[in-house]
């Protein structure tokens, strides 16, 4: 060690510091330290080198805390999942649902929302069974969900899935209404759900749009694009007043294929107007049909259909029987006593000819 490499100003300090390197261990001390070192090395060779106790204790405590935390979190989530509206942990359960929705891939969100809608129904049933009040928000949530389902069934997995979900909701709401008849919210929600079910064509008495189109020609029905206001005889069901009936014709019995005018498909020679002749009123006087000079407004006998008093007769044909499409004037060529178009193969305007009656 030389002081030459340092500034002369500090050379004196350096020379003094060099004395720090002078003390040396005595031979006894050297031997003692060497024996101690060898002893420790031998012990380390026999046993694996342990971590310091503090380090081990730290990891033990940390692991314990983490495990406890995870267990507590899992328990809280489980309890929250079992909670019902009104419980302290219910907001947590809803928050977890929201988080699941936010984290789920877009393709799974629809099924997840359906699942949560079903969970609402389950919660309501549990509340009813326990005799606890059903919060109106939950019912409103169901109604909102149902409206979403109906607006675009395909987005929620198709009509079958939506119909099944709606059936469960309807069943749940019916349970609430039966248990709490004074619960107006539930009653109106039930009505909305049932109406949505009808709109979805899940009622077995109503045809699906697919079933409506292949109607055999000549059996009547409302042509697509034309509104069938009410064709059901009084007392035989149909659309409730004030609601729009989209189609109540039984499947396979009515309707003109889309894009086609209602033409008479009666084979030639089997009735109807002969080719080359205009189909005019051939009903003998006094045997039915509209008297000359009068428009045929209502020919249906009382009690067999027709327009109720006070309603305009748009179509008086009973369901399943052909009638004049709305917007066309019924000149009535029906033979007396029959009052309806002949069934297919028995009459009508030959194909290719426009029915003018």
């Amino acid at each position: 060690m030389s002081t030459d490499e340092f500034d002369p100003a500090i050379a004196e300090v350096v020379s003094r510091l060099e004395k720090l390197g002078q003390p040396a261990l005595s031979a006894t001390a050297r031997q003692r330290i060497w024996q101690k070192a060898r002893g420790q090395a031998g012990a380390a060779a026999v046993m694996p080198v342990p971590r310091s106790r503090r380090t081990l204790a730290f990891w033990r405590v940390l692991t314990g805390v983490l495990v406890a935390f995870i267990l507590m979190f899992a328990w809280t989530v489980w309890v929250a999942a079992q909670s019902l509206p009104g419980d302290a942990l219910y907001p947590l359960a809803r928050g977890l649902e929201t988080a699941r929705l936010a984290l789920a891939p877009a393709a799974q969100r629809a099924s997840l929302e359906l699942q949560f809608l079903d969970r609402r129904a389950t919660e309501i049933r549990a509340l009813v069974e326990l005799g606890r009040p059903v919060p109106p928000e939950i019912i409103a949530e169901i109604v909102g969900g149902i409206e979403q389902l109906v607006s675009d069934p395909d987005a929620w997995g198709g009509e079958a899935v939506v119909a099944a979900c709606m059936a469960r909701q309807e069943e749940t709401l019916a349970l609430v209404v039966a248990r709490y008849p004074e619960y107006d919210t539930a009653a109106s929600a039930l009505e909305i759900v049932r109406m949505a079910q009808r709109n979805l064509h899940t009622d077995p008495l109503s045809p699906t749009p697919e079933e409506e189109y292949p109607t055999p020609p000549g059996q009547g029905g409302t042509p697509p694009g034309q509104e069938d206001k009410d064709i059901t005889p009084p007392g035989q069901g149909g659309t409730p007043p004030g609601q729009e009936d989209k189609d109540t014709t039984p499947p396979g019995q009515g309707g003109t294929p889309p894009g086609q005018e209602d033409k008479d498909t009666t084979p030639p020679g089997q009735g109807g107007t002969p080719p080359g002749q205009e189909d005019k009123d051939t009903t003998p006087p006094g045997q039915g049909g509209t008297p000359p000079g009068q428009e045929d407004k209502d020919t249906t006998p009382p009690g067999q259909g027709g327009t109720p008093p006070g309603q305009e007769d748009k179509d008086t044909t009973p369901p399943g029987q052909d009638g004049t499409p709305p917007g066309q004037e019924d000149k009535d060529t029906t033979p007396p006593g029959q009052g309806e178009d002949p069934p297919p193969g028995q009459g009508g305007t030959p194909p290719g000819q426009q029915k003018k009656d």
Partner: protein, 196 residues
Amino acid sequence: MGPQVQEFDESALIQRAKTGDRVAQGQLYEHYVDAVYRYMLYRTGNHQTAEDLTAEVFSQMLTAIERYEDRGVPFGVWLFRIARARLVDHWRLNKRQQDQVINFSDDVEEFLIGTEAPDLRHEYADLIQALGYLTAAERELILLRFASGMNNQDIAMVVHSNPNAVKSMMYRALRKLRGILSNQEQFYNDVEDDDE
């Protein structure tokens, strides 16, 4: 490195020590023990603690030497890195902060001074006291350089720095130490004047 009183083939000793040759291990110990012990003594301020820590360093040397590879890190640097790590463990276990000013205990002064001529007692005492006023980093550089005899390049490898930074910091520490020692002398002169 250390009191290199004799030339010896360090790499050959290391190769023999790695195979478990006790003689070679002993020779490596003899070569470095004083440097390590002084480093520990001046940093802890307690000769018993310094002895224990020195034993731990060489214990680890014996268990880990078979894994030692000279990849640009000299054996002395490797050994002082172990020493430094043991010192950090010691401070952590004893709740001592590294930047805490060390006040050497009386028994350390006695231990050091007892091995030297009586006329050096006063000088050592002042030097040790002055070292206590440096920061831990400054004190470490000074001790590695003057108590353990390492050059700036080796010191830089021990403290994971670069030689220029070590040199610069060493210079500042020496100037600071000079100021402290000057103040001490001034103080003693004033006291003597007052006595007179």
